[in-house]
Symmetry: none
Subunit: 227 residues, 2 copies
């Protein structure tokens, strides 16, 4: 059950209706912190899909953290949601001006809350399409098939996921860490070298024997990129 990673900044009062608890129960991978000190570092390292800032416990810092995240080229990818009891327009506008992507005011029903989160995650993942064509390669997610020049290529489960990931955002460089998270899942511990091995096997099946690779490029010190 891996719905996405959420970094939450709020005072823990142990209430079972706290945001963290709710999202954990819903199956999100929750990282919870009580103050804003590590938020930036955590965001950069963990790349959560969502960062939630509880303004009721953060106050002034909330805006600042948000701005800092949105000014950073890596952290900015995470969606920042502010949660607050204040519903005066000024606070809300200020939240958005700090770069927040959404602003939710308390109180809110659990169902509404989780529906909003789902909508946001959905939106993030939607950029990926079901069928991808790159050069002479065709990838069909639904049928789980890959063709090269019209001829089917037999890929294993992992190879397929790996190829799909890389091809879903061609030109984008994926670090091994990212690959591990997206292909193997967050909890699994697998060596970096194993990623290489799978890349090699994939390259073989794609018919890459000589250098430089036509499809999967290695970016030394960084990761891999398709095309």
């Amino acid at each position: 059950m891996d719905k996405g990673k959420v970094l939450i900044v709020e005072q823990q009062n142990g209430s079972p209706s706290s945001i963290s608890k709710v999202l954990e129960e819903e199956g999100y991978n929750v990282i919870s912190v009580e103050d804003s000190d590590n938020v930036y570092d955590l965001t950069v390292n963990e790349k959560p899909e969502i960062v939630m800032l509880d303004l009721d416990s953060l106050e002034q810092e909330g805006w600042e953290v948000c701005r800092k995240l949105k000014d950073d080229y890596e952290a900015r990818r995470s969606v920042v949601i502010m949660v607050s009891s204040k519903e005066d327009e000024e606070s809300i506008v200020r939240g958005f001006e700090s770069g927040a992507d959404d602003f939710i005011t308390r109180p809110f029903g659990r169902k509404e809350f989780t529906a909003r989160i789902r909508a946001i995650i959905r939106r993030i993942e939607k950029n990926e399409s079901k069928k991808i064509k790159v050069k002479d390669i065709e990838i069909d997610l639904d049928e789980h098939k890959v063709k090269k020049g019209g001829k089917p290529i037999d890929l294993t489960y992992i190879q397929f996921k790996l190829l799909y990931l890389l091809a879903s955002r061609r030109e984008n460089v994926f670090s091994r860490k990212e690959i591990l998270e997206k292909v193997w899942g967050r909890k699994v511990y697998v060596t970096n070298r194993t990623v290489d091995v799978h890349i090699k096997r994939l390259r073989e099946k794609l018919g890459e024997y000589k250098y430089p690779s036509q499809y999967i490029e290695t970016i030394h010190g960084t990761g891999y990129r398709f095309l």
Copy 2:
């Protein structure tokens, strides 16, 4: 002034505070229709960034239109926002379940409303990979690519980080200490001289052979800066 294209479905009552009026005034490219018949076609053809559905005038149809858009391969790209006076949780949840990306309840202040819209547009733009352009140099972070005058330049990991650091705040003078911290990280101990070496290698790759350097300026006794 083109802030983005918005397709709005609402009953026109001529009120100056109607959504269409407000967004027009704000400089959006507004397409306004009164019923849901053409919404699907318009969305596919016009590809608006945002489709706003006024549930107060659409009722039942609202959900259906939304679902139809979100089931469509092309139309799903547009962000769908529902606007409604009903603020019961059930309606809202149902909205999200129909695939809506956001749900705004009336009444709302104009500033808050426009701030939300701006945030959404911002988010859409952010998905496109971010580039820094300085003179004839282009730096693409997601793709980890650098181009000079359209031609790609191959940089190593450190060179890339270094260039990015300098270029991200041009004119700013970076001391070697600062560079070490940002590129190598706090803990690592590496000589100041090493920074020089990397500057040299970077300059070479940027095609700097003669003095004074066109891109990276040396501030004697202080550090470096990107022009």
